[in-house]
């Protein structure tokens, strides 16, 4: 269900002239882009470029200083409770470190959105929880507490919780960071499978190159100095053809700490 060309259906997420920051500190200025149905869009960039700030603005945790974010036509900072609830029902967010509720078991954590938004019988909820757990490779951990699981496992439970309602839009903050390489790849494949099977629109914040090339249909690259987007498009195309040295260096793993015109491998910087 991968979109053939992005423009053939109306976008799911529209970011219009977004300016974000904290107080007087502007991190992103006048950023605009769209995410189309069934697309996996990766937001990338070096440390401190505002990836997480952008993500928090996209999901409505922070209020933008200017501009707006629409998901399915609804402003994420809307004051209409019904509209917002409908929006939350259709949006899942997997946080960087899981953000599990420490006092609830794993099963209760995943069942929470199911209990809130559906009227399913307990038995069905239990089965759905087990299904989600088996999807992230953690079958059997139903009754454990988050504190009893490793960091990577907690993160995967967070992913399972974000997918509990099979939302139409899912946000992932660094899904494979801090996981062992095998589990990281498995998660990437799971993300791809879910996207392909249910046409879920996904926005992923990551800087793992392998992950980007595996899952991304399209990327948006942010830069700290520019306070905005410096590249967008297919990551494979950008790797080969970008003329911007910052973009080229990122995709070709070139260090950018200042050294004359040459990097430490003796190659000339573009």
């Amino acid at each position: 269900m991968r979109p053939t060309t992005p423009a053939d259906s109306p976008p799911v997420i529209v970011v219009e002239g977004l300016t974000a920051g904290y107080g007087d500190l502007i991190i992103l200025e006048n950023v605009s882009f769209e995410v189309y149905p069934g697309e996996i869009l990766v937001i990338l960039g070096g440390s401190g470029c505002g990836k997480s700030t952008l993500m928090k603005n996209l999901i409505g945790l922070y209020k933008p200083l200017a501009g707006r974010v629409l998901i399915k036509g609804v402003d994420v900072n809307s004051h209409d409770e019904t509209e917002l609830r409908q929006l939350r029902r259709n949006v899942g967010v997997a946080f960087q470190s899981g953000a599990l509720f420490g006092s609830m078991t794993i099963a209760e954590n995943i069942a929470l959105p199911l209990r809130e938004y559906t009227t399913l019988a307990q038995e069905t909820i239990d089965r759905l929880v087990r299904l989600k757990l088996s999807m992230v490779g953690l079958a059997g951990y139903d009754h454990h507490l988050p504190g009893e699981l490793s960091g990577g496992m907690q993160k995967r439970v967070g992913l399972a919780r974000a997918l509990a309602l099979d939302p139409a839009v899912v946000f992932f903050d660094e899904p494979s960071a801090g996981l062992d390489p095998v589990t990281g790849v498995e998660l990437d494949l799971l993300i791809k499978d879910i996207n392909a099977a249910m046409g879920t629109t996904m926005v992923v914040v990551t800087h793992e190159l392998l992950s980007i090339f595996t899952i991304a249909h399209r990327v948006v690259m942010l830069d700290k100095g520019e306070r905005g987007i410096i590249a967008r498009g297919d990551p494979r195309y950008l790797r080969e053809h970008s003329t911007d040295p910052r973009v080229w260096n990122f995709f070709n793993r070139q260090p950018s700490f200042s050294r004359g015109g040459e990097n430490r491998y003796g190659q000339k910087n573009l």
């Binding site: 036509g73 609804v74 409908q86 420490g102 757990l133 059997g140 099979d166």
Partner: protein
């Protein structure tokens, strides 16, 4: 666009799925599923399928998935369940005309994992288990407190032997936090306490014509008991809890582990400055509370009881002696150690997450106040015999 978008799942979706059975009763039938099968309408579909199977009681089942427009994982689970039902009834069951998307989704479902029991049973502990666990916790708590007291004592002795190694800037910081910042609220409370005590006692003493004793009553009560006690309870609530929460959060964030591996002694680094700061400022706070309390008494005495300022102060001076004051400030010093030590110790006990921080913060205040009352009683008995 907006919410009418075809990807939005609402209960109205119920109308967007259908199941039709074709075939003969008792023979082979085909179930044709169509539309959107999702979390919101799977229960309707499940009921319909169940009714159809009961009605037709087929020998062979073919499920045609060609008409499915959208299937989410809850819908896919329904198909897996249908397959299971068929298998238990030893009914041959085939899925035909799967779309690529549906096939991928069904492949994601690990049937073995669904059937496997959880690794850990969720059994509430029995009565004996609970008694045993509580006993163990209490004993463990007791030993932990003793060993903490020992370590703290060692850290304090070291601080006195090598004062240059104490992190004095933190001691000053906590002196401000525990002491200076508490002045307004403590002043307010002591003043009101002094006022109320003087006023209430004057109502009784007036009948005996002994209003002049209001001053000694307020003085003795504030100096011997209420001043140090009020201060200690306030500091336990304000600062004991803050110490526990601060160290507890550091435990959760592995900051304490980081200190250990960098060669710092957490007791020295985190607990000692807090305890030292409390030891300095809590007796001072007590003296302040006593003074303000007596001031409250003076206000009532001078304005309502026709006592002169000179008489009131003179009576107050006669009622208490230096020994009372010094023993009371020493008591405050002991309270300070208890509050700060319990706060830090509870903080170091935190394991797990946010909930544990809350539990141990509560425990820091409760244990702190409990120990203060016990020690206060011991002091009352000891001072009775010494004085």
């Amino acid at each position: 666009m907006a919410l009418a978008d075809n990807m939005t799942k609402t209960p109205a979706d119920a109308a967007h799925c259908s199941v039709v059975a074709e075939g003969e009763q008792g023979r082979e039938i085909t179930l044709r599923l169509a539309g959107r099968i999702s979390l919101d309408n799977r229960h309707l579909l499940a009921a319909k399928i169940k009714a159809l199977l009961r009605h037709y009681a087929p020998h062979r089942l073919t499920v045609d998935l060609g008409g499915i427009e959208f299937l989410d994982s809850a819908g896919a689970l329904l198909l897996v369940e249908l397959e299971e039902v068929a298998r238990t009834a030893s009914l041959p069951c085939d899925f035909v005309r799967l779309s690529e998307a549906s096939r991928r989704l069904l492949n994601l479902i690990d049937r073995q994992a669904l059937a496997a029991p959880p690794l850990k049973a969720l059994a509430p502990p029995g009565f004996l288990d609970q008694v045993g666990q509580i006993t163990r916790t209490i004993l463990h708590d007791f030993f932990a407190l003793i060993s903490f007291a020992g370590e703290l004592l060692r850290a304090l002795v070291q601080a006195f032997l090598h004062p240059q190694r104490v992190r004095w800037q933190y001691v000053l910081f906590y002196m401000k936090r525990v002491g200076v910042d508490a002045l307004p609220i403590l002043g307010m409370m002591s003043l009101l306490l002094g006022l109320v005590m003087a006023f209430m006692s004057s109502l009784q003493l007036k009948q005996l014509g002994a209003t002049v004793f209001v001053s000694s009553l307020v003085a003795i009560a504030m100096v011997k008991e209420l001043g140090p006690l009020l201060t200690a309870i306030l500091v336990a609530g304000r600062s004991g809890s803050a110490f526990a929460a601060e160290i507890g959060t550091m435990m959760v964030n592995e900051e304490v582990d980081a200190l250990v591996v960098m060669g710092f002694n957490p007791m020295h680094f985190l607990a000692a400055p807090k305890v030292l700061a409390a030891m300095v400022v809590v007796p001072l706070l007590s003296a302040y509370a006593i003074l303000i309390g007596i001031l409250g008494g003076i206000i009532v005495g001078v304005t309502l009881l026709d006592l002169t300022l000179f008489t009131y102060v003179n009576e107050t001076r006669k009622a208490i002696d230096l020994f009372d004051l010094i023993s009371s400030l020493f008591k405050s010093l002991v309270f300070a150690i208890i509050i700060a030590a319990v706060g830090c110790q509870r903080g170091f006990q935190v394991k797990g997450g946010a909930e544990a921080v809350g539990a141990f913060t509560t425990s820091a205040v409760v244990t702190g106040i409990f120990l203060i009352i016990v020690v206060d009683a011991l002091f009352a008995i000891a001072l009775h015999y010494i004085g």
